[in-house]
């Protein structure tokens, strides 16, 4: 068996197996010693990577496995997933819109607006990576806040949050008020974090 034939046989075997194949098994089949098989596999592996083929050979302990090239993962997933992308339900869209326009917001805030428990929907949006956690709010209970993600921007064809369609005017006034409040708040928070950690304010001060 010459090198070319060995390569072809090993390629066929690793292809059909899909799973990792112990080197010993290949040695037994082809009547070759371990060094030979390992070196042919390595040659194949190098060839696949160097030529940037769509497949790869990986060495796992005493086995070799053929798998698809990681660079092609997105195309592979797209081709093999036959599901059409699911669309968000109206409640989910509403929660997302609230988060998008008023971020960062807590779940309590969303529920206050919607009047219904929204934990499931928030969980769903997190899972879909449309929103992410945005730190805890420093109020009793330290609730988590949420903000939108890059996936959100991409899904809605937005370059940035500035591209969000403008809110109806009445709400805009409120939004501005909120912004003022927020900036005031930021100044306050900055002032606080600037205090050295080693010397917290005297106990009890400003607490009640």
């Amino acid at each position: 068996m010459d090198l070319k034939e060995l390569e072809s046989a090993i390629e066929g075997i690793l292809f059909a197996a899909g799973d990792p194949v112990p080197v010993e098994r290949i040695c037994l089949t082809l009547g070759q010693d371990r060094d030979t098989v390992d070196s042919v596999c390595q040659r194949l592996a190098d060839y696949y990577s160097y030529e940037r083929r769509g497949i790869r050979l990986v060495h796992l302990e005493a086995s070799w496995q053929m798998c698809s090239a990681p660079e092609q993962a997105a195309y592979i997933r797209k081709t093999l997933e036959n599901r059409r992308p699911a669309k968000l339900s109206q409640p989910a869209l509403e929660v997302l819109a609230i988060i998008a326009y008023f971020q960062p917001v807590t779940r309590a805030y969303i529920e206050q607006i919607r009047g219904v428990d929204s934990s499931y929907t928030v969980g769903l949006l997190l899972e879909r990576e449309l929103i992410c956690e945005a730190g805890r709010l420093s109020v009793p209970g330290r609730p988590m806040q949420f903000k939108t993600t890059k996936t959100f921007l991409r899904s809605f064809g937005l370059a940035s949050l500035d591209d969000l369609p403008e809110l109806p005017s009445a709400t805009q006034e409120e939004a501005q008020l909120t912004m003022q409040l927020e900036s005031a708040l930021q100044r306050l928070q900055q002032a606080e974090t600037e205090e050295p950690e080693e010397a917290p304010p005297p106990e009890g001060e400003g607490s009640e």
């Binding site: 899909g18 997933e81 917001v105 996936t151 899904s155 909120t178 917290p200």
Partner: protein, 266 residues
């Protein structure tokens, strides 16, 4: 009118003898019946007969015997059909027709079977080679929950509009607005934890209640309590006794060290 006795079996079997031509009309009738998906009662038999006689006439060697057999069969078909048309309830005619159909179908099946048997040889040869093309199991595709539906940005606007419509455009002030008022954090839990550990290192043991003695506000009590919980969780302190009389001891001797708290402050 008495039904002529007509043996279909003979007609079908005629092929084996020297009357091969029967293959033709029989096949044709069959062909027309099956391929065109028409019922035998819909066939205009006279036309069928015309076509056949036409064909026979053009043949160099007119086999009279065959032709007459065909005419007999066709005539019988016509006869059956006439009876069916005259009286739909003529069960005898119906069953005769069924019989004829069955015989025709049988004949056709046999023909097909011969052809199929002929072709199994070449197919078998192909399989001999083809079965060595081996497929592999599909690679598992890693699940990806990322949202991929492409929206119009207007979807967001209409969603927020419907929210606002329900709330009469009144939104609660953002929670962040209260941060400055209620959210001051004078008591970092980590600091509390460190001071508790310091105290235990210094005195070896402390009463649970004593840890709260210096607390001057509810917030400080909460921060101290959270610190104790964090230290218990981290296995840094040990609580023993009853609700009324509980002592706290350090589980390690070597100073406070790093304290990893999950709650930063209160």
């Amino acid at each position: 009118m008495e039904a002529p006795i007509y043996h279909l079996d003979k007609v079908v079997k005629a092929k084996q003898e020297d009357m091969e031509d029967f293959d033709g009309p029989l096949d044709l009738i069959l062909h027309l019946l099956s391929k065109n998906k028409i019922e035998i009662r819909d066939i205009v038999i006279s036309d069928l007969l015309d076509q056949y006689l036409d064909w026979m006439a053009r043949r160099e060697k007119l086999n009279l015997e065959v032709a007459s057999e065909f005419v007999t069969m066709a005539a019988h078909l016509v006869y059956i059909k006439t009876r069916m048309l005259l009286s739909i309830d003529d069960e005898v005619a119906m069953s005769e027709m069924e019989e004829l159909m069955a015989a025709l179908e049988e004949h056709k099946s046999q023909e097909t079977y011969v052809k199929i048997k002929d072709v199994t040889g070449p197919l078998s040869g192909r399989y001999e080679f083809g079965r060595d093309y081996l497929a592999k199991p599909p690679e598992p595709v890693k699940a990806d929950n990322t949202y991929r539906y492409v929206h119009d940005r207007g979807d967001l606007l209409s969603a927020i509009r419907s929210v606002l419509a329900r709330t009469d455009s009144r939104l609660p002030p953002p929670a962040a607005a209260f941060e400055g008022i209620v959210g001051r954090e004078p008591y970092p839990v980590a600091d509390k934890a460190r001071s508790i550990l310091d105290r235990l290192v210094q005195f070896g043991v402390a009463r649970f209640r004593a840890l709260f003695k210096t607390s001057r506000s509810r917030s400080e009590v909460v921060a101290t309590f959270l610190a104790i919980l964090e230290l218990c969780k981290a296995n840094r302190i040990h609580l023993a006794g009853t609700a009324e009389d509980c002592t706290v001891t350090s589980t390690v001797d070597d100073g406070p060290g790093e304290i990893d708290v999950t709650v930063e402050s209160y």
